[in-house]
């Protein structure tokens, strides 16, 4: 560097050596972290409070694409009616091949899944027709769909309106 191109502008007596500041000589500089920690804590609290960790899941439902007019013929023997009364009682009744249907049976929630699987074992083309009362709670609808989804079957179910004859059936079976 001695024969370097140009000299650094040396300010002759400019350096005052900073005699006054003894601290400057210290090797490590101590930064007070308290304000930073405060701010970070604040941010952390904010994020914890605004985060929703339970990401909801969805239950996909597909409605039939066609119009109401094009009806699909199904064998009544494959049909399982699930009727739910206003009270929340669930009734299963299996269709018979001759077009009639078996008398409704009240099914408790716990063995719903096993029953559906049982019906599926006897008729693999099982179609579940859901007839829910309009006054029934939405919670129960999700629960029943959940039971059907849990059952180890090929899921084929369809929503139907609960007509007066259905209400009559349910009523006669105990409401």
């Amino acid at each position: 560097m001695a024969g370097g191109g140009f000299d650094a502008p040396e300010s002759g007596g400019g350096l005052h050596k900073q005699k006054k500041y003894k601290k400057g000589k210290k090797i490590g500089v101590r930064i007070d972290m308290t304000p930073m920690v405060d701010v970070i804590m604040l941010l952390l609290t904010f994020f914890i409070l605004t985060t929703t960790l339970n990401t909801p899941q969805i239950m996909q439902i597909n409605l039939p694409k066609g119009d109401e007019t094009d009806k699909i013929k199904v064998d009544m023997g494959d049909v399982l009616y699930i009727r739910v009364a206003e009270t929340g009682n669930v009734y299963f009744s299996k269709g018979q091949s001759d077009g009639s249907e078996a008398p409704p049976e009240k099914v408790s929630f716990n063995d719903m899944k096993a029953r559906i699987e049982g019906f599926y074992a006897s008729s693999p083309n099982l179609i579940i027709l859901l007839k829910f009362d309009r006054k029934m709670k939405y919670n129960l609808m999700v629960d029943i769909l959940d039971e059907i989804n849990k059952a180890a079957i090929t899921k084929r179910y369809s929503f139907m309106k609960m007509e007066d004859p259905d209400k009559e059936i349910v009523k006669n079976a105990g409401g």
Binding site: I40, L44, F47, P56, I58, M59, L63
Partner: protein, 195 residues
């Protein structure tokens, strides 16, 4: 000599660096995980039903048309795109209200602007059945215009556990009429089985 000196110091200096490290880590975690409560869900409080659905379908992140069913039988139709909202409802935070039961009035109208017992601040457009059908197609159309036909709304139903099934049935009728054959029910994950 050194030891003696440090003891003599009046204040005890705690090294905060590890603490800051841990907090920073936590902060980063929460920032990355954070999905903010959407405007709509904050305003309308509902209790979602729980399910143990086996397919691992999660709620899509955007382009959702949310139909919120409240306890009192009202349906709020909302989308997550504010431009679309502005176009259809005339307000960036507008929301549609449909009361399927024509024999009664919605909670919003009865209480003069309350939803779930709390004042509702967003602009509400009241819809009847035909307007509801029109709004649904308007919303889809608006989004298609907005994104040049690239995206489409997914319809999800967020129902309160205590709302009536009849409302869902009416909505399914509307879906059929408007040729929306796919929709989804939003549920919470069931943690354990009490039954």
């Amino acid at each position: 000599m050194k030891k003696a000196r440090s003891i003599k110091k009046p204040g005890v200096n705690i090294d905060m660096t590890p603490l800051v490290d841990v907090i920073m880590l936590l902060l980063t975690f929460f920032m990355l995980v954070a999905t903010f409560k959407a405007e709509s869900t904050e305003a309308i409080e509902i209790k979602l039903p729980e399910s143990v659905v086996t397919d691992t379908t999660k709620l899509p992140e955007k382009d959702i048309m949310t139909l919120t069913l409240t306890k009192s039988g009202d349906v709020f139709i909302d989308v997550d795109n504010y431009k679309v909202r502005e176009k259809v409802f005339g307000d960036a935070f507008g929301v549609g209200l449909f009361h399927p039961d024509s024999t009664s009035k919605s909670e919003y109208e009865n209480t003069g602007g309350m939803v779930g017992g709390k004042p509702f601040k967003r602009k509400v457009t009241l819809l009847n059945r035909t307007q509801m059908e029109k709004t649904m197609s308007d919303l889809r159309l608006a989004l298609k215009n907005e994104t040049a036909g690239k995206s489409d709304f997914r319809i999800v139903i967020k129902g309160d556990t205590q709302s009536d099934y009849g409302v869902v049935e009416d909505l399914m009728d509307i879906f059929k009429a408007t040729r929306n054959t796919r929709f989804a029910l939003v549920t919470d994950v069931k943690s354990d089985k009490p039954k």
